[in-house]
């Protein structure tokens, strides 16, 4: 009974995560998030994209891997969520196996 309930819960969760990652991420607000906004407080953005003024973000640099980044499309988000699922599940399962052996 519990096993069947667990499978159903896992299935519902997986579908929900897929919908969130692939579908809903496209509707995310483009406004800066709290930390981003706080880091830019005191600066204005020049047309070149650089920050002018005095703020914590003024020396911010582009990520060195930005050209290779998967971006933020729904498909990339879905792939990222799947990868995170596998790594976290596999990593914790591996920890359990090692713990049992010791």
């Amino acid at each position: 009974m519990i096993a069947r309930q667990s499978r159903r819960l896992a299935l519902v969760a997986t579908v929900g995560i897929a919908v969130l990652a692939v579908g809903m991420s496209a509707f995310a607000s483009s406004a800066p998030d709290g930390l981003e906004w706080a880091l830019r407080d005191g600066c204005t953005s020049a047309p070149s994209g650089e920050f002018v003024g005095q703020c914590p973000a003024q020396h911010e640099r582009d990520h060195v891997l930005v050209e290779y980044a998967l971006g933020n499309t729904g498909l990339a988000a879905g792939a990222g969520a799947a990868l995170v699922l596998l790594l976290a599940w596999g990593g914790v399962a591996l920890l359990r196996k090692r713990g049992a052996r010791e």
Binding site: Q5, S6, L9, A10, A13, G16, I17, L20, A21, S25, A28, S29, A31, P32, D33, G34, L35, E36, W37, A38, L39, D41, G42, S45, G49, E50, F51, Q54, C55, P56, A57, Q58, H59, E60, R61, D62, H63, V66, Y68, A69, N72, A77, G80, A81, A82, L83, V84, L85, L87, A88, W89, G90, G91, V92, A93, L95, R96, R98, G99, A100
Partner: protein, 229 residues
């Protein structure tokens, strides 16, 4: 040189020594979590950890407006700690933050240690500490559980933001008055933390309805023989 930093620090905000320092802190804390977390792992933990990490990854992409011109998203430190315990919860968040940085350029490489420290470790630990302190109310009733989850979510968000302020005080690159930074960073994250608390409570409440045994916080402690088996 603008980059997207969704609650993640970019390269260049902290100086190199501070980035290295918090890289070491993150590694040491994660090693401790991997060791201490083994005792919390049972048959239910690995699938739940995978699904929760994927859920948090997806939710962190979903920014919603919280103030004019400011957005926020669930970050999930308290949720992970309440469902999985502080150690396994921290490891899950670390997987999310590392993948975001390495594959999505979300959070700088040199700032990875600081981001893991704030989001995966500090927020998770503080959220769990609050939940643990109030565990008897969480065990007493459903409303108690929801209330504890809400407060833990709020505190974890503010704690993660406070971690950044401490790091910036140690090695921020720009000459910015610290007092003003504290007010801005903690103030905006207190507002975001209310949303975090609500979503944490809703998620914990939904799981408590169908599978209360999955909630680490309110599970009875394992017998010693069972824990070491």
């Amino acid at each position: 040189m603008t980059v997207s930093v969704a609650m993640h620090l970019s390269d260049g905000v902290l100086d190199v020594p501070t980035s290295v320092l918090f890289g070491v802190v993150a590694l040491a804390w994660l090693a401790l979590a991997a060791t201490r977390g083994r005792i919390d792992i049972d048959d239910r933990t690995a699938p739940l950890a995978g699904l929760l990490a994927a859920f948090l990854f997806a939710m962190q992409l979903l920014n919603v407006p919280v103030l004019p011109g400011v957005s926020g998203h669930l970050y999930g430190g308290a949720l992970a700690a309440i469902l999985l315990g502080p150690w396994v919860g921290a490891l899950c968040l670390a997987v999310v933050v590392v993948i975001q940085s390495l594959l999505f350029a979300d959070g700088g490489l040199t700032a990875l240690g600081a981001n893991v420290t704030n989001m995966a470790l500090l927020g998770t630990a503080c959220g769990f500490a609050v939940a643990l302190a109030a565990r008897r109310w969480a065990r007493r009733s459903r409303m108690g559980l929801l209330g504890v989850a809400f407060v833990a979510g709020l505190v974890s968000t503010v704690a993660a933001a406070a971690g950044f302020v401490v790091e910036y005080a140690i090695g921020g690159q720009a000459d910015v008055p610290l007092g003003g930074l504290v007010v801005v960073v903690i103030g905006v994250h207190a507002v975001i933390g209310i949303g975090e608390g609500v979503i944490t409570a809703l998620a914990v409440g939904a799981i408590a309805r169908v599978r209360p045994d999955l909630i680490y916080l309110v599970r009875p402690a394992p017998e010693p023989a069972e824990a070491t088996a």
